[in-house]
C-alpha cells in the first residue's frame, strides 16, 4: 500500500518544474532594469523597450510549458 497516493496529471508537476527557469529569467531581466534605472534614470525608456522583448521571449518558455502540460496531461 502506498502511504500517500496522488492521482491526477503528472503534466502539472512538469509544468511547475518548467516554470522555474522562466521565473528566474524574468526576475533577472527586471532586476537588471531596476539596477540600470538606479544608475542612469534617463536611460529607462530604452531599457524598458529591450526588457519587454526579453520578458516576452523568456516567458514564452513558461507559456509553451503550460500549453504542453495541457496537451500531455489530457
Amino acid at each position: 500500500m502506498t502511504p500517500l497516493e496522488l492521482t491526477g496529471s503528472l503534466g502539472i508537476v512538469g509544468y511547475g518544474l518548467a516554470a522555474i527557469g522562466p521565473g528566474i529569467g524574468v526576475g533577472l531581466i527586471f532586476g537588471s532594469v531596476i539596477q540600470g534605472t538606479a544608475r542612469q534614470p534617463e536611460a529607462r525608456g530604452a531599457m524598458m523597450g529591450t526588457a519587454w522583448i526579453g520578458f516576452a521571449v523568456t516567458e514564452a518558455l513558461a507559456i509553451i510549458g503550460i500549453a504542453l502540460a495541457f496537451v500531455f496531461g489530457g
Binding site: M1, G45, M48, G49, W52, I53, E59, A60, I63, I66
Partner: protein, 266 residues
C-alpha cells in the same frame, strides 16, 4: 492511513466537485443561439461601455478640466506616454487609436473577472485572446510589409543587422519562427493563461471555502472554510492587480511588435 487522510482532506472524500477546465464551459444564454454565451455578452457590453466612456470624455474638452475630464485625460495620457511614446517613438500617433482600443478592451474584459455581477474574465476562454492576437499579428505584419515591402520585411524581420554570414543558417530560421509564429501564440496564451489560472484560483478558494464551511461537520473544517473565504478577498485583490498588469503587458507588447516591424535597419 486512508481513514486518517479522509479526516485530514475532507475535499477528497466525495461530494466536493473540484473546479477545473469544465468550470469555464458556460451554457449559451438562449438555447436557439449557441454562439451567444456569457463571454459574448460581456464582450459586447464592454465595447458599449468603452465607446461611451471615450465618447463622453472626448466631447466636452475645457481648458480647465473638470473632474471627469481629468480621469479621461489621465487614462489617455497613460496609454499615450507610457505605452505608445516610450515603445514606438516619434511616429506613435498613427497607432494610438489601436493601442487605446486594445488597452481598454483587454482591461475591461479582464476586470469582468472581479466584477460582482459577472465574475468571469472574458479572456479565460481561449478564443478571445486568439482573436485579439490574430488582429495584432495582421496589423504588425501589415505595418512591416507596407514599410519595407514584402521581401524587405522578411529580410528585416528574420535577419538582424550585423550578424556574420556563417551564422545565417542558424539565425534566420530562429528569428523567423520567433517573430512570425511564436509572437502571436505567446501573446494570446499569456493573456489566456493568466486569466484562466487566476479565475481557477478564485474558484478553488471560494468553492472550497463554501464546501468546508457549509457541508462539513467538524469545527476545524468550518474554521478553515472561514479562513479560506477571507483569504479569497485577498485573492480578488491580487486578481485586480494581475488583470490590470496583463492588459498593460498586452498593449506594451503590441506596441513593441509594431515598433520592431516598422524599425529602420541600423
Amino acid at each position: 492511513m486512508s481513514g486518517l487522510l479522509s479526516g485530514l482532506v475532507p475535499l477528497e472524500t466525495g461530494g466536493f466537485e473540484a473546479p477545473g477546465v469544465h468550470s469555464f464551459d458556460v451554457p449559451p444564454l438562449f438555447e436557439s443561439v449557441p454562439w451567444f454565451d456569457k463571454y459574448m455578452l460581456q464582450a459586447i457590453v464592454s465595447v458599449i461601455l468603452i465607446l461611451a466612456f471615450w465618447l463622453i470624455m472626448a466631447r466636452k474638452n475645457a481648458m480647465v478640466p473638470s473632474k471627469s475630464q481629468y480621469i479621461g485625460e489621465t487614462a489617455y495620457f497613460f496609454v499615450r506616454n507610457t505605452i505608445a511614446r516610450d515603445m514606438i517613438g516619434h511616429d506613435f500617433r498613427k497607432y494610438l487609436p489601436l493601442l487605446i482600443a486594445l488597452f481598454s478592451f483587454v482591461l475591461i474584459n479582464n476586470l469582468w473577472g472581479v466584477f460582482p455581477l459577472t465574475l468571469l474574465p472574458t479572456p479565460a476562454h481561449v478564443g478571445w485572446p486568439y482573436g485579439l492576437a490574430l488582429l495584432v499579428w495582421v496589423i504588425y505584419n501589415g505595418v512591416g510589409i507596407s514599410k519595407h515591402g514584402f521581401f524587405g520585411y522578411l529580410k528585416s524581420t528574420s535577419l538582424p543587422s550585423g550578424v556574420p554570414a556563417f551564422m545565417w543558417p542558424l539565425i534566420i530560421p530562429l528569428e523567423f519562427v520567433s517573430n512570425i509564429i511564436v509572437r502571436p501564440i505567446t501573446l494570446s496564451l499569456r493573456l489566456f493563461a493568466n486569466m484562466f489560472a487566476g479565475h481557477l484560483l478564485v474558484l478553488v478558494f471560494v468553492l472550497g471555502g463554501e464546501y468546508l464551511l457549509l457541508h462539513s461537520a467538524s469545527i476545524i473544517n468550518k474554521t478553515a472554510g472561514v479562513v479560506s473565504l477571507i483569504v479569497s478577498m485577498a485573492i480578488f485583490g491580487l486578481e485586480i492587480f494581475v488583470q490590470s498588469l496583463q492588459a498593460f503587458i498586452f498593449t506594451v507588447l503590441t506596441a513593441q511588435y509594431i515598433s520592431s516591424a516598422a524599425a529602420e535597419e541600423h
